[in-house]
């Protein structure tokens, strides 16, 4: 009885999603985004492209970590040859750093808007442009109406959008498909090796539309993401300094 009810609820949830404009993603078309286990948190176990993701970055350190993860995702999204738009008011992103994550910085077009309102206008225009791999916008605040406009834009074009919420005053409700928060974690090196290791982050999916929020530890090693479960003892913690 209970199982049957669960099935019905699941079915209904799926239908609601479709009515809201979130088409079920087809895994074949997009391919693996490379996030491994984290992708299972999303409906159907596929990273939703053609939707808008919200990344919360309370501090510059969070923003840097988010930048890294985003660049890693962009690498997969841009494999098909699309370009990418990065819209911001005051940009601190260092373009050459994108190449660390296998994204050619010359395929990213940076747009420096005058104010937040303009950022959202540019993003809406860009999201309507089919064939872009991704559109990234740095905004502080976004209202539910504005996010709805963006959602309508991606529904027809299937472009993936990312909203970087720098230092947000309040995280209100919006139509984004997922809310992420990426925090830096101490890097891990094999025993005895000095220096700073590979980038390592704690990925928190705070909200996933019709999915399962969760928390993962993620590393970027040899041009791909690796999800870590085991708590590796940090052998070099005491040997602080290289050389």
């Amino acid at each position: 009885m209970l199982a049957a009810k669960k099935d019905i609820v699941k079915q209904l949830q799926k239908q609601i999603l479709q009515w809201e404009g979130f088409a079920p993603p087809s895994a074949k078309k997009v391919g693996n985004i490379g996030l491994g286990e984290i992708e299972s948190a999303f409906p159907n176990g596929v990273f939703p492209t053609g939707a808008i993701h919200e990344m919360v970055c309370p501090t510059p350190e969070h923003a840097a970590a988010t930048g890294g993860l985003m660049a890693g995702i962009l690498q997969s999204l841009m494999k098909q040859g699309g370009a990418c738009l990065w819209i911001s008011v005051s940009r601190t992103l260092f373009p050459p750093a994108l190449s660390t994550f296998n994204v050619a910085p010359d395929r990213v077009i940076f747009i420096d808007a005058k104010e937040e309102k303009q950022v959202l206008w540019v993003m809406e225009q860009a999201l309507k442009c089919e064939g872009l791999a991704a559109v990234i916008a740095e905004v502080k605040e976004i209202s539910i109406v504005q996010s709805r406009r963006l959602q309508l834009a991606v529904e027809s074009s299937r472009v993936t959008g990312f909203l970087l919420r720098h230092d947000p005053r309040k995280l209100g409700a919006n139509t984004c498909v997922a809310r992420w928060q990426i925090s830096p974690l101490p890097s891990i090196l094999a025993d005895g090796l000095p220096g700073v290791g590979f980038p390592r982050w704690e990925v928190n999916l705070l909200r996933v539309r019709n999915g399962n929020p969760g928390s993962w530890k993620l590393e970027w090693i040899d041009d791909r993401f690796i999800v870590r479960h085991e708590q590796v003892t940090d052998g070099v913690e005491e040997k602080r300094i290289a050389g």
């Binding site: 890294g68 370009a83 992103l93 010359d106 220096g195």
Partner: protein, 500 residues
């Protein structure tokens, strides 16, 4: 095509203008005067003054003696040219090729324009009546050459329109002054008894040249049409220009949209046939009240797609205020480039990169709304100094000349200006043990060895930087550097970036 020219003579240009400005002068004889060689001389007189015997060049005192109630107004230098330019701009509705003919005339090249006003008679009548209704006393003539038109407008007595090929005959009865000659030559002709053109036109050329000089022959040939006369056009004609005169003034947004579409359609058709595309285009709207409104668009890639170009103009329609109505639209493509035929091959919704037309069109829209200087794309530059390791790309299809370097760690975020931090470090060349940034203490747990980046001595003198990648106890990774050597008194530590 047979070329036809209209010459318009403003008989009382400056005085008519002043009468328009000050209607109370309509019934008063008045003159403009200027001091020439210690003598106050009349430079222009209105028709009332002229009818009482005042002429240009007369001393003001003499004129006052003839006409007791004469109003004397100081001359405004350069006023004729200003007025003629404005009137010429107004005349562009009749022909795109208008030239100012100082001191008191305009010349219009009307080849192929007259049929729009139902023939040459209607055309000339329209110009003259419109100018007279504005308040200017004008005479105009229409012939095959500029010189003949000038002559007939000023000295012709029979008819203003001379049929093609008949202008040499029409000139015969006119005085030599109709040839725009130097006063000295005119004096000499007068003395010799040449009162009409007929009297000397049969004389041998070499004899005329010997007596009156080359300039005389040139003027004669220009009037007869043997010599080409180049007009200094008020507005140089763009090679890619479309015009759309309107039967009735346009006042609505829909009307403007239709006008732009019509213009774009013919322009794009022509460009597409030649394999070219627009880079910059200007739309000019000539309003009934004489104002000209200009809006310009630019594109990143040359385009002859009408839909796209229309979208760019659509963003600017609200800036066009029709007021009483717009009676003429012109569209000029000032910069035209070859269209890359690959563009269309690559066009597809999927898998398009930077060469994609859809992207270029998007960027055009953005550039026209927020400004082209707000859109950046970067290419690698082979320099080590972090701030200079990349440069701006000049165009969308510029390819990187070098590889993006991946061998050294570079932070995700780079502060626009390095920020000062307070640092404790153990040994001179060791990375810091802890640093304080914006009041927060960061205890360093891990660090990489220094990367020294020297300044480019040929560009600027200054201290080198020793960069360290450091990670604090919470796993936050930073890029810090020491400016200069450790021992130096002015060596300071800075935070420059955040690692992913």
């Amino acid at each position: 095509m047979n070329r036809r020219f209209v010459s318009i003579w403003f008989r009382h240009l400056t005085t008519d203008w002043l009468t328009l400005r000050r209607p109370e002068l309509k019934t008063v004889p008045f003159v403009f005067v200027a001091a020439i060689r210690n003598k106050v001389v009349i430079t222009a007189a209105n028709s009332l003054a002229e009818s009482q015997g005042v002429v240009q060049g007369m001393a003001a005192a003499d004129a006052k003696a003839i006409v007791p109630g004469l109003e004397v107004i100081p001359d405004i230098p350069g006023q004729e040219e200003k007025l003629l330019k404005a009137l010429g701009a107004w005349c562009i509705r009749y022909s795109p090729q208008v030239a100012v003919d100082l001191p008191n005339g305009l010349v219009l090249d009307i080849s192929g324009c007259a049929h729009l006003w139902g023939g040459e008679r209607g055309y000339l009548k329209e110009i003259v009546t419109r100018l007279i209704s504005k308040g200017y006393d004008v005479r105009a003539a229409l012939t095959d050459t500029v010189g003949a038109s000038w002559a007939i407008a000023r000295y012709g007595k029979i008819k203003p329109i001379i049929e093609p090929g008949e202008h040499p005959d029409a000139l015969l009865t006119l005085p030599p002054a109709a040839l725009r000659l130097d006063p000295l030559i005119l004096d000499r002709l007068q003395k010799l008894g040449f009162y009409t053109i007929k009297s000397f036109i049969g004389t041998g050329r070499s004899a005329l040249r010997r007596r009156f000089g080359q300039d005389f022959i040139l003027r004669l040939d220009q009037a007869l049409g043997n010599e080409e006369e180049v007009l200094q056009l008020l507005q140089p004609v763009e090679p890619y220009t479309e015009r759309l005169p309107c039967m009735e003034p346009i006042r609505t947004r829909t009307g403007i949209e239709i006008a732009i579409k019509t213009l774009l359609e013919s322009l794009c058709k022509r460009l597409a046939a030649e394999g070219k595309g627009v880079r910059t285009a200007t739309l000019k709207c000539y309003r009934v009240d004489g104002e000209v409104i200009e809006t310009a668009i630019g594109t990143n890639l040359a385009s002859n797609q009408m839909v796209h170009l229309f979208k760019l103009f659509e963003l600017k329609i609200e800036l066009i205020k029709p007021r009483l109505g717009i009676e003429l639209f012109t569209l000029e493509a000032a910069k035209v480039e070859e269209v890359d035929p690959e563009q269309e091959l690559l066009w597809s919704p999927e898998g398009c990169g930077l060469e994609d037309t859809a992207l270029a069109e998007l960027l055009d829209r953005l550039a026209n709304k927020i400004g082209a200087d707000k859109i950046h794309r970067y290419l690698p530059q082979e320099r080590y100094w972090p701030e200079q390791s990349f440069k701006l790309a000049t165009s969308l299809n510029e390819k990187p000349a070098a590889l993006w370097r991946k061998d050294r760690p570079r932070p995700s975020l780079l502060l626009p200006r390095p920020e000062k931090i307070e640092v404790t470090s153990l040994l001179p060349d060791n990375p810091p043990m802890l640093f304080i940034y914006k009041g927060t203490r960061h205890v360093i747990r891990k660090a990489d060895d220094a990367e020294r980046i020297e300044r480019e001595w040929w560009e600027d003198q200054g201290l080198h930087r020793d960069y360290y990648v450091v990670e604090d106890e919470e796993g936050r990774r930073y890029w810090v550097f020491r400016s200069g050597h450790y021992a130096d008194a002015d060596s300071t530590w800075y935070l420059h970036g955040f690692f992913a």
